[in-house]
Each structure stands twice: as structure tokens, then as C-alpha cells.
């Protein structure tokens, strides 16, 4: 990790939230408490999943309540597109989510988005293993 800093991929977050909004606003407004934004460590991209036992190297954030704490935030206004609302919502939480995710994937107290996982090769300038 030290040779290449990774951080949360915004396009995939917006895409996943847009997908959620489309579903939650199908046949009226029915927010789905089960849905989580899942982010994987390898490339920090995000998907929509149902909440479940974690799999290795993924972290989850509940869409309703955790990412967007206020009831009804994911409801589409008349004439509003899912993409527009997704962009607005992600704008509001982006900085916080970016930090949360960075620390969730920071394996030591070395600092945000830094530190090395045990299964990653050591950087070439490391003196001792």
C-alpha cells in the first residue's frame, strides 16, 4: 500500500446509490433497510448488496440510517432523476464517507489510507521484513 495510495472510488459510489434510489422509488417510495453500500479493498469500488455476514476485504455501510440518517432522504422529488438525487446525496456525505472508508481499510495507526497489509509485498526500501 505504501507504494500506491488507494482511496474510495466516487463513480461507483454514485452508481450504487443511483441504483438504490431507482429501486426504493419503484411503485411508490419503499426504502429498503436491508441495503448496504459494499466497498472492496482491492480497488475501493462500491456496489449495492443486502446486509449479511461480511466477506473478506469488504466493508459495508447501511444506506438508510447510516449513510443517510434522515428519513426520506432517498425519496425522489417530482421530475427529479435518480442520477441527480444520487449526485446530491453523495455530495453531502462524500468527505465523511471517504474518511470512514479510508480508516476502515487502514490496517495500522500509520495514518489514513496508509499502512501495509500482511499479504502485500514489502516496499523495496524497507530495511527489515
Amino acid at each position: 500500500m505504501s507504494s500506491q495510495t488507494k482511496s474510495l472510488d466516487r463513480a461507483s459510489v454514485e452508481s450504487a446509490i443511483k441504483d438504490y434510489i431507482v429501486q426504493a422509488n419503484y411503485r411508490g417510495y419503499r426504502p429498503d433497510r436491508r441495503k448496504v453500500l459494499s466497498v472492496r479493498r482491492t480497488d475501493r469500488t462500491a456496489w449495492l448488496r443486502n446486509a449479511t455476514t461480511p466477506v473478506r476485504w469488504e466493508v459495508y455501510y447501511f444506506v438508510e440510517g447510516e449513510l443517510f440518517p434522515e428519513t426520506g432522504q432517498t425519496r425522489l422529488a417530482p421530475g427529479q432523476s435518480a442520477g441527480e438525487l444520487a449526485q446530491q446525496l453523495v455530495d453531502k456525505v462524500w468527505e465523511q464517507l471517504w474518511i470512514w472508508n479510508g480508516y476502515d481499510f487502514t490496517p495500522t495507526s500509520g495514518g489514513l489510507n496508509r499502512g501495509q497489509y500482511s499479504d502485500e509485498p514489502l516496499p523495496s526500501d524497507t530495511a527489515t521484513p
Partner: protein
């Protein structure tokens, strides 16, 4: 009932009843989180739970001990006070999450290495500590307050092994536990666990610390009758003066990391397991405290 309406599913703050915030209701809230949030599970094997119900304490943000933490004999001047994180800070909530029985049982007493469950629980469990920190923020916001998680803040940092916000020291101030010879936090649910905290501008009733001394729950400091953590450390990082953090972390890097390379884990836990303080306040001290409380 539609699956979408299942009241048992979803994020904790959407299903936990409104209540006055006290150390008891916050304990219930975090207990419910630990019992019901699907993220409290190892990603490997039988997906055993990582954490059990926490020990919670609340400190007054103006507690003079936060000044004491800035003295060189404590953490040092690099450590900041609650109002650094939140100018109108009134309270600090601290919690200790004890490792589950399943994870502690997996740690073999005689092995020089930790178990897979332990090393996974240490890393993946810290992700859940973040879940708990965030859940507290949402709970406090629901009550109209603001809250900051120092350890999930861009201003959080460290100078070597000295952080600008020490979860263990903050836990001591909040009445969660005392220190041990091994430098870990000792609580009524033992030493095997992790700590988190949140700073808020909501004034909450502070927890009365059930101790007065920094090492009050440690048998070594009580009557020198125990020094089990000294020989238990596989790299001799602990002696009668405390723990050498440089030697301690070298064990993870040199010995544990290569063993768990394919899994991606590297944390030791010898000084939190198979000790008289691992699961509880040592009985001799607990009896002493009970006698004093009864006098």
C-alpha cells in the same frame, strides 16, 4: 409482511427506541448493535461473533484529568482535549468491546502464535469498532446533538507510538477501566478487547470512576502477586517496568506477519489472553474493592 418492512432488519438507529441518554441506555444501544448487526462476525470459517456486549463510561469533557493526560508522565503535550475535536464539547462516551468467547477459546495457551480467529478478529473487529463509533454519532445526532469521532477524523494523528487521542487513556477518564502492567486496559469484562470513543456537545451524566489509581485493577501493582504477562510475551516486550512498544510491534512484523501472509493478518494477543485479567477484574482485587465499597 414485506421483507422491506421487517423491524428486525436495518440500521440500529432506525430500530432502537427513543430514550433519555444515560450510560445505561447507551450500553443497551451498543449491546443491541453487537447482538444484531451482521457485521459483528468474522468473515472466515463459522463466522463467529467478534465482540460481546461492551463496558461503557461517560466523561465530562471538562474533567481535569484531560489536562493531566497532556503531562509528560501521562500521554504528553501532543494529546489534545475534547474541545479540540468539538469546540462545544460537553461529554465523551467511551466503550470497551470484549472479544467473544469463541475468539478467546481459539487462542491456544501454549502456542507461540495467535489463532486465525484472533488475528482476523483484531483487524476485522476494528472495522466493527468503527461501526460502533458511527452508530453512537447517529444516536447523538438523533437527539439533536453534534458528535465527532476523533479516531475517524482527518486531524487524528500520532508521533511514533503517541497518538493525539489515546482511546485507552480516555477510557480511564470515563470510568471504563484502569491500566495493567502490560499497558492494556483492564475492565470488569477483562483486558481482551478494543476501545472506542465519541465526543459530543450533549451534556450527559458522567460516570463516577469506580477507581482512583491508574493501575488499580492490576495484580502486579496491587500486591506483586502476579506477573503472568511478563513470561507470556513471546518476545519479552514486558518487564516489571511495563511494555516496550517497539519490541511488541516487532513480533507482529517479524513473526506473525509471515505466518499469516496469505490471510493478510499480523496481530499478537498474548498479553490479553490466558491471564487472570483476561476476562474479568482479578478476583482478589474484586473482593478487595467489594470490601471497601461495603465499609
Amino acid at each position: 409482511m414485506s421483507k422491506l418492512d421487517d423491524p428486525r432488519s436495518g440500521y440500529i438507529s432506525l430500530r432502537f427506541p427513543e430514550a433519555e441518554l444515560t450510560v445505561d441506555t447507551i450500553s443497551q444501544f451498543l449491546g443491541e448493535l453487537v447482538r444484531t448487526d451482521p457485521r459483528n462476525a468474522l468473515p472466515e470459517g463459522d463466522n463467529v461473533p467478534i465482540w460481546e456486549e461492551p463496558v461503557v463510561g461517560i466523561a465530562d469533557a471538562a474533567d481535569p484529568l484531560f489536562d493531566t493526560l497532556r503531562e509528560p508522565r501521562a500521554v504528553g503535550p501532543y494529546h489534545v482535549k475534547p474541545d479540540f475535536w468539538l469546540p462545544e464539547a460537553k461529554s465523551v462516551i467511551s466503550f470497551f468491546l470484549p472479544f467473544s468467547k469463541e475468539i478467546k477459546r481459539s487462542y491456544e495457551r501454549s502456542s507461540i502464535l495467535p489463532s486465525l480467529e484472533w488475528v482476523s478478529g483484531r483487524l476485522n473487529g476494528e472495522v466493527f469498532v468503527n461501526v460502533a463509533r458511527r452508530a453512537l454519532v447517529r444516536l447523538l445526532e438523533r437527539q439533536g446533538g453534534n458528535a465527532i469521532i476523533p479516531n475517524l477524523d482527518l486531524r487524528y494523528g500520532s508521533q511514533g507510538f503517541i497518538p493525539n487521542w489515546s482511546e485507552r487513556h480516555v477510557a480511564f477518564v470515563a470510568g471504563v477501566g484502569t491500566f495493567g502492567l502490560h499497558a492494556g486496559l483492564l475492565t470488569k469484562k477483562g483486558a481482551a478487547g478494543r476501545v472506542g470513543s465519541v465526543v459530543t456537545d450533549i451534556p450527559l451524566p458522567a460516570t463516577k470512576r469506580p477507581y482512583t489509581e491508574v493501575y488499580e485493577y492490576c495484580l502486579w501493582h496491587f500486591d506483586r502477586s502476579c506477573h503472568s504477562c511478563i513470561p507470556r510475551c513471546p518476545v519479552n516486550a514486558i518487564d516489571e517496568n511495563g511494555k516496550d512498544h517497539v519490541v511488541c510491534t516487532s513480533n507482529g512484523r517479524i513473526n506473525i506477519r509471515p505466518e499469516f501472509q496469505e490471510w493478510g493478518y499480523h496481530s499478537c494477543g498474548h498479553c490479553q489472553t490466558h491471564l487472570p485479567c483476561s476476562d474479568r477484574i482479578p478476583p482478589k482485587i474484586a473482593r478487595h474493592l467489594a470490601r471497601n465499597a461495603g465499609e
